[in-house]
């Protein structure tokens, strides 16, 4: 059965997106879907003709012989929000996300420097910066919905998957009377 998301009490107001690195095939469709979700037209065919061209907020990198998408962690104590002199970036208590108020942004790029993950980028014109907003109007963020391999998961789904995998491993081992090595999840 498809995972439908946890009740908010358990997962927090808005679940974050986690990554199963070992699943990523590097197709970059999450990047495309992200740019389309942040376009005016919301369709791929029209979005690629918009000016300025819409930007992605998720980045598929190839490092350490692995492919891996990465996106804003929406840190609980976010360095970017701390660095922002105008409170354009701030910790939103209701959603639990690091939110952005474009009207207050002066484009100083302090947040770009403060983010330890490089997840904030310069905007093409206005707004002055772009970063993941966790698709506020959708249950499944666009990148999660676009990923063909399930490499991107909401936090609750991710955790339940990991738990179930681990429990299944332990249960099988107990039945067979020997321990199984855990699977290699990703290159070190």
């Amino acid at each position: 059965m498809e995972y439908q998301g946890l009740p908010r009490s358990e997962a927090g107001p808005r679940e974050r997106v986690l990554v199963r690195i070992e699943r990523c095939v590097g197709c970059r469709n999450c990047e495309l879907a992200c740019a389309v979700a942040h376009s005016q037209s919301r369709t791929l065919a029209a979005a690629i003709r918009e000016e300025p061209r819409p930007q992605r907020r998720i980045y598929v990198e190839a490092v350490a012989e692995s492919r891996a998408p990465f996106l804003c962690r929406h840190c609980d104590d976010a360095p970017c929000a701390r660095a922002c002199p105008t409170r354009a970036l701030f910790q939103d208590s209701e959603s639990g996300l690091v939110a952005f108020e474009a009207a207050r942004c002066i484009g100083c790029h302090g947040c770009l420097m403060a983010c330890p993950f490089g997840m904030i980028q310069a905007g093409r014109g206005s707004p002055f910066i772009v970063k993941c907003d966790r698709c506020p109007d959708r249950d499944q963020p666009a990148c999660v919905a676009a990923c063909p391999t399930g490499a991107l998961l909401l936090e609750g789904a991710y955790l339940s998957m990991r738990r179930r995998d681990a429990i299944a491993r332990l249960t099988r081992a107990a039945r067979q009377g020997r321990a199984e090595l855990p699977p290699v999840e990703a290159s070190p």
Binding site: N29, A33, L44, R49, P54, P148
Partner: protein, 626 residues
């Protein structure tokens, strides 16, 4: 669990909807389920921006301009999109042309006396075609002429010519244009081969010249491979003449041995059709408790049989699996092209035996029995016998024939249309000049699960005929329009007053079935005949083409030869070209100045009809017609 809305959104066809319900009940997965499972599909590939032509790649271009703008080799979006499109055209042209070559081989073997069961049915057409190749028929028997003709046709596939022979049927202006642009097709295989060469890494890196060669490659299909396929099929199996038949899954019979023929090439199915009428086999069917042997076609093999023999038509591309879901099919024969590899799996849910017949086409979970001209007659009898023996294994509780069949007419070859007009195209020209018929449109092509089955074909056609535009159709579009009831003389009531009058006078439907997908050349030959009679170019005439639900590479080749021949062509689904603004612009605008016609893309059939009507009005104005 599918809701009834889901089912209605998959197909407008009543038989399809009933069978989707049964498929759900029988737990059969169909093309629509597999399409859903594929979503979301890759955006790079959708835009034509992915390239895997070499092992430095695969590469893709970021259409939003943040990621890479060139592949490892340095190819940019324009080059990659043009190369990908070029390879699609090559695959389509190769498919039609290889089909054509198979017919030429049968022609040769008939001439050599090595193909029992086959014969030259149309000596007149044989001699006329031979004359076009400069082969004299004087005092020579038909076999001798056929042998020379087969030889000459084989030459068309080679590389020793400056231009294909049959392009001489095109208006002089058109040929001069092709020569001037350097897109005159030279050899059928040569253009496909050259396309594969040009699109190798480090060859043609000019998107304009790649696309021009694409047109040449497509012309080698439309004025070469497909044309030969149609001409030789007519010689071997008969020139189609108007014929009455029936269409939809209701053509299957609860009390008969049902044999379905699927694919594209008539070589095998004609033999099955002969065997199915053999008295001893009919007697065997009766001995097994069946009322008889019932043949039905599906897809273009079906169209070939329908056009020449009036064999009823079960359905089009998206109906192929649903036909098996009736549970009433003893045996399905497939030859090649558009046969979903999923069919064997669907058949496994029922008693249906699946037989693949071509040395070049294999499918999972099918039995392979290779047909060749020398064994075809005997093998056909053997397998029809086995189909009959399979009848008692049918599970009555699993059988459901969903609807009553719909009446239809088919068989409108160019020869048949000219005959209906009294021997010349002049009456058609007069009707166009008088505005009774405002123009003619070829509605052609496939089904595609991205579009509600038949919705595009039927709604486009309905609007065009209501605006006094004659529709000629082929392929899956032709099946859709027949199933919608447009192919009976009474359907003239749906036409505008002018077209209604013409149809009434001739006793023909407002939508003329011209055959299979290779038979699209019948449409271009009719267009060329009109242009030649008027001493004009094809692009001067109030004509258009549409492929409202296309899916296949062959459709891309057809669209390109139509446009290169001067016919404005509206596609339903978007081809993978949007990743390059330049390529998109050239196809939809720039080509007007090059070949006098362009592509347009419009998935909404209502709006597509508006585009076509406006185009026809413009062409009429250009000719000084109101």
């Amino acid at each position: 669990m599918l809701t009834s809305d889901d089912i209605r959104n998959r197909t407008i066809t009543e038989d399809g909807q009933r069978m989707l319900e049964k498929a759900e009940h029988d737990q059969v997965r169909t093309v629509w389920d597999r399409y859903q499972a594929q979503l979301p599909q890759c955006g790079f590939c959708e835009l034509g921006l992915s390239c895997r032509n070499c092992a430095m790649g695969p590469c893709r271009i970021d259409p939003f301009g943040e990621g890479p703008q060139v592949g490892v080799c340095g190819a940019d979006a324009d080059i990659i999109v043009a190369r990908n499109l070029g390879r699609m055209i090559a695959a389509g042209a190769a498919s039609h042309s290889d089909h054509g070559r198979d017919l030429v081989e049968v022609l040769r073997q008939v001439a050599e006396g090595k193909a029992p069961g086959y014969q030259i049915r149309e000596e007149g057409k044989l001699r006329a075609l031979a004359a076009e190749f400069g082969i004299s028929g004087d005092g020579r028997g038909k076999e001798a002429v056929a042998l020379d003709l087969a030889e000459a046709l084989e030459e068309e596939f080679g590389t020793r010519k400056k231009e294909l022979t049959l392009v001489r049927r095109a208006p002089e202006q058109r040929r001069a244009l092709w020569t001037k642009l350097g897109i005159m097709p030279r050899g059928i295989d040569r253009e496909t081969s050259e396309m594969m060469h040009r699109t190798h890494m480090g060859v043609d890196n000019n998107w304009q010249s790649l696309l021009l060669h694409g047109l040449r490659n497509a012309l080698s299909d439309g004025w070469g491979g497909s044309l030969i396929a149609t001409e030789v099929s007519d010689i071997l199996f008969g020139v189609p003449r108007p014929v009455h038949s029936k269409v939809n899954l209701g053509v299957l019979k609860t009390d008969q041995v049902n044999i379905l023929l699927h694919g594209h090439n008539p070589i095998v199915s004609e033999m099955i059709a002969q065997a199915a009428t053999d008295d001893d086999l009919v007697a065997l069917a009766k001995a097994k408790g069946a009322a008889g042997i019932n043949l039905a076609g599906i897809c273009c093999t079906g169209n070939e049989l329908l056009m020449r023999r009036g064999i009823p038509m079960a359905g089009n591309h998206l109906t192929t699996e649903l036909a098996l879901v009736t549970g009433a099919v003893e045996m399905m024969f497939v030859d090649y092209q558009c046969i979903m590899p999923a069919l064997g799996q669907v058949a496994a849910c029922y008693h249906t035996r699946m037989i693949s017949t071509s040395d070049k086409a294999g499918f999972p979970r099918m039995e392979h029995h290779e047909f060749h001209p020398d064994n075809a007659r005997e093998l056909a009898r053997k397998l029809v016998t086995e189909a009959i023996e399979n009848y008692p294994r049918r599970v009555p509780g699993k059988v459901k024939i969903p609807v009553e069949p719909v009446d239809m007419m088919a068989g409108f070859s160019v020869e048949a249309i000219v005959a209906a007009l009294g021997g010349t195209v002049q009456p058609l020209i007069d009707a166009i000049v008088a505005g009774k018929i405002r123009g003619a449109v070829g509605v052609v092509g496939c089904n595609n699960p991205k579009i509600r089955q038949d919705y595009g074909h039927v709604n486009l056609t309905r609007k065009l005929i209501a605006h006094d535009i004659l529709v000629v159709d082929t392929g899956c579009a032709a099946v859709a329009n027949a199933r919608a009831g447009f192919k009976v003389a009474e359907a003239a009531a749906l036409a505008g007053p002018g077209l209604r009058e013409v149809c009434g006078a001739l006793g023909i439907p407002p939508v003329l079935h011209m055959g299979s997908c290779v038979d699209n050349v019948r449409i271009t030959m009719l267009a060329a005949a009109l242009a030649n009679a008027l001493k004009m170019d094809i692009s001067d005439l109030p004509l258009a083409a549409a492929a409202p639900e296309w899916y296949s590479e062959k459709a891309i080749s057809i669209g390109c030869y139509a446009v290169a021949s001067g016919i404005y062509t509206v596609l339903g689904p978007m081809p993978p070209v949007l990743g390059s603004k330049n390529v998109t612009q050239l196809l939809t605008e720039g080509l007007e100045k090059v070949v006098g016609a362009t592509f347009a893309v419009e998935p909404d059939p209502d709006l597509a009809a508006d585009l076509i009507i406006a185009h026809i009005n413009r062409k009429r104005a250009g000719l000084g017609l109101s």
